[in-house]
Assembly symmetry: C2
Homo-oligomer: 133 residues x 2
Amino acid sequence: MKRRSTASKEEVLAVLKAEETAMSHDMLQSKLSVSMDRATIYRILNRFCEDGQVHKFVGDDGKQYFALCINCGDETEHHHHNHFHFKCLECGKVECLRDEVEVSLPKGYVTRSFNGFISGVCAGCSSLKKGEE
Amino acid sequence: MKRRSTASKEEVLAVLKAEETAMSHDMLQSKLSVSMDRATIYRILNRFCEDGQVHKFVGDDGKQYFALCINCGDETEHHHHNHFHFKCLECGKVECLRDEVEVSLPKGYVTRSFNGFISGVCAGCSSLKKGEE
DNA sequence: TTATTATTGCAACAAAGTCGCATTAATTAA
DNA sequence: TTAATTAATGCGACTTTGTTGCAATAATAA
């Protein structure tokens, strides 16, 4: 299964880079300059995940989000992504929080996957709100 | 809107207590001794949430899970549920992890909701697996 | 240029969750 | 005990998310 370079693929990648936020499928689709099928977008994104360019997580809205694997620290391929994701409820931006989080599990428990998600208001938006008052 | 005590409501509560695990709608439905409509189950659970008997969170499968507000520590009504939930991929049990988790947000960021979810293997199941080898 | 096969679009589908509305039934008042 | 009030339920319809099969398209290798 060698990957082929296609316009769709490049476009998805371009949007992910340009927007600088993790994106759910629908966020992405609305930003695409070329229209493409929902299934295609999912397939492209999941391929990126397999290739380690992108990682996937679940938001507190139950949706899958996809983020470029940059600014996520120096993760290597089999690395657990033990960081939180933060979604700003004002501007909609979803970002990776830098610090790795350690959760102490009870004795004998083993982690397979980690999903940390916080919703709130980011610095930019909370200062704006202060300004408005 | 005074709450009424109904058989359905009691049954849902009974299952939640008996199973001792957080449950998604479908897990719950399959354990009910009385069949009831999907919408009804959701409405009952969401009412429990409003009343503070139950809290809700999202699993890494994107589903909503509901857990009784016991063994979750001494949360008061407006308390953030800053604890992780752990789902055992072997036995399916979903439990609240005791320790409260502190995530240090960048300056100016405000938390509105917290969702921490870990999948893996619980102590019981991982010791069983050792035994099998 | 042709053969190979990864990629795409389309349609269909399943599952999760919500909502409106008519009916049922728990509670309160008479 | 009966009647009135209205919360709770069941049903159906619907939206959204995500996946999959299959035929058509197109990127790559021969």
